[in-house]
């Protein structure tokens, strides 16, 4: 293999693909890319708090390589450029060379590395091969957060226009477009969907209801990944069924000015992250809502839960993931789930953004065990579970479908097959999309569902049709 030295202490693999940007990224970096990259990096260091982190990492990076065993992308690709430590070192090397005194001194005494367009292109490539699942952090003896470094690298790259088109187009619509959401769902479209969902629920559950929109002074303002309104009606109806059955129907609302919980800023940009958070909070303020209730979406939950307090300080409204709400209802006896409805073997996939930190691991399991008799665990499970292969925004990039299937998701597919489950519960819009593609690609006899899809089937609705009767009707319909 042909090798050239790119970063001090690092061998980089030279290949023709490194000469140009991958096709899914913006392609207008201009002639002075290196200068602009360094200027952007300098400005980021000047105004943000990343410098001490980089100082600590560059000084103590022992490069023990333990992270290599934890990375599902690397396990599948076998390509050394996918080693988390290698990727982190690319950015640390540039930081050391251009933004530290000793790095500059070293460069005076030796023929040190110089940043080139090729290295920037390489970063554009490998920072978007990482799914930012942060599994490597759990096995790093020093606790290096390679996901955070990947994100920082992507942030600087985005400042020189190197960013996946799919993400860029989505956030542009979310922040500047008329619809203020990533899927361009107009308000009239949303109202149509909600009307459709209400009709479906009436037919299915036997109760009449109207989705509460733009109601003020409610306890919960609901946000989901806006794509759920188009792709995951069962999950939404499951959410609504819990709110109805628990008697909380008058306590929640959906805002009509902003109804998208997606925040791609979490994956690549501080600026976008903060502005999308502000947009979301301003909607809650407009409606004088007291809590933010996030639907089944891992990154939307993490973005709101972790970054609303960061950016809004003491003004921050509390954030609840819907599974926490459902578990609370279950424990208080506000809802009942029929354990005879779901007879298939069910397993649970932990979305990285809510499970890696240990935030939401046991809650969905407690719910599932209460009404699913044949529940099996994946190995590994919980905070150590494998990424679906579509994390970090990758699932939105259709151009890399092959990479997501063949490499990023291969370990997940194998793990899923080994459970022998007929249903995999994935309470995350991104994971659902990736897993649906994976089971089809690898021909795994398993259905992907949200947790609330199963709850919709099993929940007892006061005054409505019983779950078993609903099941019999559905079976009849299927036949």
């Amino acid at each position: 293999m042909d090798t050239t030295t790119a970063v001090p202490g690092i061998e980089t693999i030279d290949s023709p693909s490194r000469r140009t940007l991958p096709y899914h990224l913006m392609k207008h970096p201009g002639d002075d890319l290196v200068d602009r990259f360094l200027e952007a990096f300098g400005r980021v260091l000047e105004f943000t708090d990343y410098k001490p982190l980089l100082d600590s990492y560059r000084r103590s990076n022992t490069k023990c390589n333990r992270c290599a065993v934890a990375c599902p992308v690397l396990q599948a690709s076998g390509d050394p450029k996918d080693i988390p430590c290698y990727r982190t070192n690319l950015l640390l090397g540039i930081y050391e060379r251009y933004f530290t005194l000793d790095g500059w001194l070293k460069s005076r005494f030796s023929n040190a590395f110089e940043l080139t367009e090729e290295i920037i292109f390489e970063m554009g490539d490998i920072f978007y091969r990482c799914t930012a699942c942060r599994r490597c952090t759990r096995v790093c003896p020093l606790g290096f957060d390679h996901g955070l470094i990947t994100r920082l690298g992507r942030y600087v790259l985005s400042l020189v226009d190197i960013v996946p088109k799919a993400l860029q187009v989505s956030v542009q619509e979310q922040l500047e477009g008329e619809t203020h959401n990533t899927s361009k769902v107009p308000r009239a479209g949303l109202l149509d969907v909600l009307e459709f969902l209400a009709e479906e629920m009436e037919e299915m559950l036997g109760v009449e209801l109207e989705f509460p929109t733009d109601r003020e002074d409610r306890d919960y303002v609901f946000f989901c990944a806006v794509s759920d309104y188009l792709m995951e009606p069962d999950t939404l109806m499951g959410n609504a069924a819990v709110l109805y059955a628990s008697g909380d129907w008058d306590r929640w609302t959906i805002g009509l000015c902003n109804y998208d919980g997606i925040n791609y800023g979490l994956f690549y940009s501080d600026w976008h992250l903060e502005n999308i958070i502000k947009q979301l909070v301003s909607e809650v303020d407009r409606l004088r809502g007291r809590n933010i209730l996030i639907g089944e979406c891992g990154h939307a939950s993490r973005a709101a839960h972790d970054f609303i307090p960061t950016f809004m300080g003491s003004k921050a409204p509390p954030v609840l993931n819907f599974m926490e709400y459902t578990l609370d209802c279950l424990r208080k006896g506000k809802i009942t789930l029929d354990p005879d409805v779901i007879t298939e073997r069910v397993t649970y996939h932990d979305p990285c953004n809510i499970a890696r930190s240990g935030w939401i691991v046991e809650q969905p399991r407690e719910i599932l065990r209460s009404f699913v008799p044949d529940f099996v665990e994946m190995t590994p499970r919980g905070s150590d579970n494998l990424c679906c292969g579509g994390g970090g925004g990758l699932v939105s990039v259709d151009e890399i479908h092959e990479f997501r299937m063949d490499i990023a998701g291969r370990m997940k597919a194998e793990q899923l097959r080994q459970t022998g489950a007929e249903i995999v519960v994935a309470p995350c819009a991104n994971c659902k999309k990736q897993l649906k593609e994976l089971v089809e690609y690898y021909d795994i006899p398993c259905r992907v569902a949200g947790l609330h899809d199963l709850i919709l089937q099993s929940i007892v609705i006061p005054g409505g049709i019983s779950p078993m009767e609903r099941k019999e009707r559905a079976d009849l319909f299927t036949i």
Binding site: K63, K81, D145, L159, Q172, H272, E274, G313
Partner: protein, 232 residues
């Protein structure tokens, strides 16, 4: 030679040890300064206890030995025991610490120190072999990574040989001088290289703190780069 030994044990030792302490203090100070002064107001939500627990759990990393890293992890762990225990608690070192700093440290027996030294040497060689013969390790390794491992090995090998005349091919004072000088080079290297993880390991682990981004920073970066015209 005796004068050289005295010089190495005396002024040179004090100088290099002082540099190491000052260098490490500087690294810790910069990190703590940043945390307390710059991020201070935003630290209340950080899960400090969880991070301390996590850090402590790596002191005896039994639950962290993953499939695929077993040999490497055990070798690395044993090496670290020797690297910490022998320089601090070997009887001859304890005497020096007491004379030099007035510290009254307990001493391990000579036999224990010998076993730990040999273990450290063997484990370091194993780690060196990993870096040399495994492609994945080579990919992330630069010259410094090999040099430092050898540098860590040197005081252990020379110290062991100096204490075991039957095995020592060189005169005792030459070996002892090598031992002291190599340790002193190591002192200088610790704050300037990745060996600084001796104090920075805790600061590496607090990424939850670094995820607490600074409000408004994104706006300022965008404004500095693009002026009024914000590009989405």
């Amino acid at each position: 030679m005796e004068a050289w030994l005295d010089f190495a044990k005396g002024p040179l030792f004090a100088f290099t040890f002082g540099i190491m302490i000052a260098g490490l203090f500087r690294l810790v100070f910069l990190q703590v300064y940043h945390l307390l002064v710059k991020k201070g107001r935003r630290l209340k939500d950080v899960p400090w206890m969880a991070m301390v627990r996590e850090s402590l759990s790596w002191v005896i990393p039994v639950r962290h030995i993953e499939p695929g890293t077993k040999i490497f992890s055990i070798a690395s762990f044993l090496m670290h025991i020797g690297v910490i225990v022998v320089p601090l608690f070997l009887l001859d070192h304890v005497v020096r610490w007491e004379r030099f700093l007035g510290l009254d440290l307990p001493a391990v027996s000579k036999g224990t120190a010998d076993i730990l030294t040999l273990l450290t040497i063997a484990c370091s060689l194993l780690l060196l072999a990993y870096r040399t013969f495994r492609a994945r390790h080579r990919t992330v390794s630069g010259p410094v990574d090999y040099i430092l491992l050898v540098l860590v090995l040197l005081p252990f090998v020379s110290g062991y040989l100096a204490m075991h005349p039957a095995l020592n091919p060189l005169p005792w004072d030459v070996m002892m001088l090598t031992h002291i000088l190599s340790a002193e080079v190591l002192f200088l290297m610790i704050p300037a290289t990745k060996l600084a993880h001796v104090v920075l390991f805790f600061f590496d682990r607090i990424s939850a703190v670094h995820w607490q981004l600074r409000p408004g920073a994104g706006d300022r970066v965008a404004e500095a780069l693009y002026g009024e015209e914000v590009r989405i």
